[in-house]
Amino acid sequence: MQSSLVLQNLLSAPVLFFFLGILGVLVGSDLEIPSPLPKLFSLYLLLAIGFKGGMELAHSGLGPQVLLTIGAAVVMSLLVPLTSFLLLRLRLDGYNAAAIAASYGSISAVTFITAESFLNVLEVNFDGFMVAALALMESPAIVVGVILAKLSAPAEDAESVRDQENGGDQEGSGSLRWREVLQEAFLNGSVYLLIGSLVIGYVVAAFSPAGLEKMDPFTEKLFYGALCFFLLDMGIVAAQRLRDLRQTGAFLIGFSLLAPPVHALLGLLVSALLGLSQGNTLLFMVLCASASYIAVPAAMRMTVPQANPSLYISTALGLTFPFNVVVGIPLYMALTRHFIPVG
């Protein structure tokens, strides 16, 4: 049964297109999705998933289970960076450890979407409020990452950074820096679009439900195919990142492949305690297991410029993302089926 889950995932259209992209790079095809087309698909997926999530949230309401699950998700996005940081600090300096930890505390929306598609094919139900959990896990991890970076900064370094800052862009005091961090954490384009679409989906479902049906062809019908197209590009990009792993080192490669299942197990534990359904458990595990390559790198680049972007991008995008999409999702589903009772 486990192996059938793996197969069912491997033989699904989205994962096959992901492989097609990876293979293209490996065999040397010049296939590429020119910029800014990937951005179009990425914006579309965020808008659609947010809208649908908000719509379903309006139907299910904000009961105690919903709030508890979302709360637990936020706690996970604060916890995971802390434990990851301690581990990463064994080999990396504070800046890089903090930036990578933030990435793993946050989430990958595309991994989540792929898991949803997988559940759809298996005909396992899940709830729209999981999208709210997704949306609320991005920002806390960023804030934690910045705090960790500041705490681990050598004293003079912190000083000189502040000086540069003052000289450079005339921004002055330490308090201003915080505004920047919060802005990067909460108003990052992808976070903002996801939360905004969620709210809009909620409002439309609650107040003008006639609009839902008219949105359906765009946000629902088109979704699966657009995901395939985007995963084709993700495969290309992930494979290109694999080349960077030479400079990444064995430690980080190990981390990026072991962190996902470990965090997924943590998520399974929490899901069991919360009494989540099988579908929601898989999604919760995927949220914990996945790492951000959009919102967090964007924020870290601005707030912790001392960290090397290629380290956090390469691991999250080149290893953790493919691992979760290909192996992780069916593996977590097998665990879910084993430990979580049906319905």
Binding site: E32, I33, P34, S35, P36, P38, K39, F41, S42, V161, Q164, E165, G167, G168, D169, Q170, S190, D233, I236, V237, Q240, D244, S292, Y293, I294, A295, V296, P297, A298, A299, M300, R301, M302, P305, N308, P309, S310, I313, L317
Partner: protein, 93 residues
């Protein structure tokens, strides 16, 4: 007159443009979706949608007198966030 060419991450673009005008330049031009290679590695077109972003190429034509101020404003930004800058001579058409 001087021509300044800057290559930096799209993410820093806003800051850099503000610094340019604050330093007294009367105009600038920006090309985005720039890829390339530099001391800190390769930036490929595929990364455009990710949080890393692609590069931007900023061109500023300034009077010789303003060059110093612009350089002073930009150097710390380039040092902090990455990116490179070059200067050459030019004159109005």
């Amino acid at each position: 007159m001087k021509r300044i060419d800057l290559f930096l991450s799209e993410r820093e673009l806003n800051r850099v443009c503000k610094a340019i005008t604050a330093a007294g330049a009367k105009g600038y031009s920006v090309m985005r979706h720039v890829t390339g290679m530099g001391p800190s590695g390769e930036i490929s077109e595929g990364m455009d949608f990710s949080g890393l972003g692609a590069n931007a190429h900023v061109i500023v034509f300034v009077e010789d007198a303003v060059l110093d101020a612009v350089g002073k404003a930009l150097r710390p930004l380039l040092k902090r966030y990455g990116g490179v800058g070059f200067v050459s001579s030019a004159e109005p058409l």
